[in-house]
């Protein structure tokens, strides 16, 4: 298992190298000049030219790439062109915000999705099954920004139950320690704030979790149906075991592997793909960090931000693969 883990970690190197290469050259293919973007339309051509030189943008592009790669190898993620501060120092609060949101979204998605999938398979062709699968179909095809705006309108504006934006009460901000606010409020022993943070997580969590939830539900259902038709399940039922146990113990265990794969992939996607949710709910996460940088042509932030997201993506999937063995003893690494 250790061997496998190391091998997988080793495979990160070509992945990240490839990513860095693609990202580096693609973002430079977008029209637009960082120096001009920073200085604005009123700056003189001379000022723009001198900033370009300062930023090293006049070097041949290959040289620029090797500079960047060299910095990366020494663990230096670079300096933001927009804020001129170190990216490695800036990136954590954004990452923490996204991780917290993605965690809650996946919590909702897994809990609801898996159970809905199981029940649909159990009571196949029942009203519940049809309803759940239609809802799941709608969930998959629902545009996140529309769902988010509707949630805000209904739960914040009409019912006044939940706050519409942000991670915390704007007028009573959380004292950041780890930047994971659920944790920080508990460390500070401020339960009121903890519940406020939880409240702020619900609407964006649901908006972000809806698509994975629907995918997980459909995947669980089809995987369960397959397993429940197999011989050993028939045997278990024949010997008179209770249906609940047959479904949740015997069937789910075997049906869960593909579901786990989907959960892993979706978690990875949420980390990088939460831009829409983060924008609508004004969530200062990593998706928006990278997105804003694209607008400013802040090359170092785009490059390093995407690399960090890619690394996490690979890690999440590694963890999922290791979890296979925990679920299914037949799988050994």
């Amino acid at each position: 298992m250790l061997n496998y883990t190391l091998r997988r970690l080793g495979s990160l190197i070509p992945v990240l190298f490839g990513m860095s290469l693609i990202v580096f050259f693609i973002i430079r293919a977008i029209p637009g000049d960082p120096a001009r973007t920073i200085l604005g339309e009123k700056a003189s051509e001379a000022a723009v030219e001198s900033l370009r030189a300062d930023l090293g943008l006049n070097d041949p592009i290959v040289i620029q790439y090797f500079h960047y790669l060299g910095d990366l190898l020494t663990g230096d993620l670079g300096t933001s062109i927009r804020t001129s501060s170190e990216i490695s120092g800036d990136i954590w609060p954004y990452l923490a915000a996204t991780m917290e949101l993605a965690f809650v979204a996946m919590l909702i998605a897994v809990f609801v999705g898996v159970n809905a999938g199981i029940l649909s398979a159990w009571f196949q062709n029942s009203i519940f099954d049809y309803t759940a699968m239609i809802v799941a179909l709608i969930g998959v095809s629902m545009p996140v920004f529309w769902l988010g705006l509707m949630e805000q309108w209904f739960f914040s504006l009409e019912l006044n139950w939940l706050p519409s934006i942000g991670r915390e009460s704007i007028r009573d901000p959380v004292e950041p320690i780890t930047h994971l606010y659920l944790l920080d409020t508990l460390i500070n022993g401020n339960l009121d704030q903890f519940f406020t943070v939880v409240k702020h997580l619900i609407l964006p969590g649901v908006a972000l979790g809806t698509i994975p939830m629907a995918i997980i539900a459909r995947m669980t259902r089809s995987s369960m149906l397959e397993v429940m038709r197999s011989d050993y399940i028939r045997t278990a039922r024949a010997k008179g075991q209770r249906m609940l146990l047959v479904v949740y113990k015997h069937s789910l265990k075997n049906a869960f592997i593909p579901v786990l794969t989907v959960i892993g992939l979706q978690t990875g996607l949420l980390l990088g793909g939460a831009i829409l949710t983060e924008t609508i709910f004004s969530w200062p996460g990593i998706g928006r960090y990278v997105y804003e940088s694209i607008q400013y042509r802040d090359y170092p932030v785009i490059q390093s931000g995407i690399l960090v997201i890619a690394t996490i993506f690979v890690f999440v999937n590694l963890i999922v693969d290791l979890l296979y063995a925990a679920f299914d003893p037949r799988i050994k690494y």
């Binding site: 973007t37 504006l157 934006i165």
Partner: protein, 529 residues
Amino acid sequence: MKQKKWLSWLLVPAACVVIAGCSSEEGSSEGEDETADSDTQDTLVFGRGADSTSLDPAKETDGETFYVTQQIYDTLIQYKPGTTELEPALAEEWDSNDDGTEFTLQLREDVTFQDGTEFNAKAVVANFERWMSSEDYVYYGSMFGGYGDEEDNIIENVEATGDFEVTFSLRQPSAPFLKNLAMSPFAIASPEAFDTLEEEPVGTGPFTLSDWRRDDSITLDKNEEYWDEGKPHLNTIIFQVIPDNSSRLTALQNGEIDLMDGVNPSDQSKIENDENLQTFMRPPLNVAYMPMNNETEPFDDPVVRKAVNHAIDKEALINGFYEGNAETAKNMLPPTVDGYNDEVQEYEFDPDQAKELLEEGGYEEGELTIDLWTMDNPRPYMPAPQKIAESIQSDLSDIGIDAEIQTLDWSTYLEKAQAGEMPSFLIGWIGDNGDADNFLYTLLSTGSGNNYAFYSNEEADELMAEAQAETDEGKRAELYKEVQEIIHEDAPTVPLVHYESIMAGSDTLDGYIPAPTGSERFTDVSFTE
């Protein structure tokens, strides 16, 4: 045994969701109480679309930066709220010699910087020396012409001629000089803090920085030592980033924020119908226009330029793309600026007259084909560049001019504009200092880098130079009025519109007056309940 493992997978999230669900019920009532304090509210939350770049105004050019730095720093002279007229700030009074080449400012003697450093003439000189020192200080170069000892830098010398007296000697007369001093980038910072201003701003202003979370919020606290006694009224201002315009409005309606910019014009009536909200209009200090290259065919012929001026239906543009929040432009100068000539007769929208003009000029229908360039992304003054271009294209085709629309990304667009490679295109100008010079001289004097129309009229040039040296405001205004007559007659551009942006806020908000220059002080803002 083993089933416990996977059961916990389901149970833990279940428990969490239940806890979350319960707490949300409990917590929501608290949430509402936050704003409904029995005392008068003294925290203002301002929702806006993006974060400040840094908090050193001298280095930045973006409005989001100035929104915040305007509260932390003071300028020597400031704009009266809602106008571009000047009033004293850190300088109590000022004087100039007759030809406008020497300005003397008397400074307030009771001011200290927020870090305890004394504010005096030396501090002012140090600030100017800093801005002149490098091209990092973009606005300095753009407003004062150049840096250091360069001939183009209109400030030849800044000198502390007393403890609280500063004298500026200029290389050439510049009446707009005083207006420049009121601009947000030329705010006076503590010389002790020059190296760290970007993250830790130190000025003399009504508020101090308390907390900055990038792309999230900036919190300012009241400066208890502020020199203007009894002010500010607010204790705290929070600048909250909410990127999406609709979400920002929901947050305002929900009481999570108190004031916002970037209102979708289509939401305006919704806000006006909400009794808890009010709208504010920012007076326009801008012009959207269509330069025509006066040096190349066919626009070297004034007849064609006039015909195009008659052909474009500006009202249709305003109703179609500005949702009514703009006024038609007949001058390149917006009406908020001193010297605006209201006597100028607008080229009316009249395709028939345009056609006649072309016929008289000897052009046959369909003979003229032009390229009409537009930018790829919206700008504040050009909310739908592609569609506006299409509308103009169809107006032009009605008078027999065949226009082909070309699109380019912004930075290449500017380069091409400066090089004169686009015969006609869409662009705009947002005023910097509220002076007529900043529009007319900058956009239409011979040789100016922003004279995209490559317009050149000796008489206009002379009048504008004369106005730069004229220190009597009334006489200056007359000169600019004359310049506008000349420009109108030559029609080097099509002035399209002056757009107004909408702000919205809670109806308990008092004393908030949007500034035409884009960033207002919150010194006089308070809440009525």
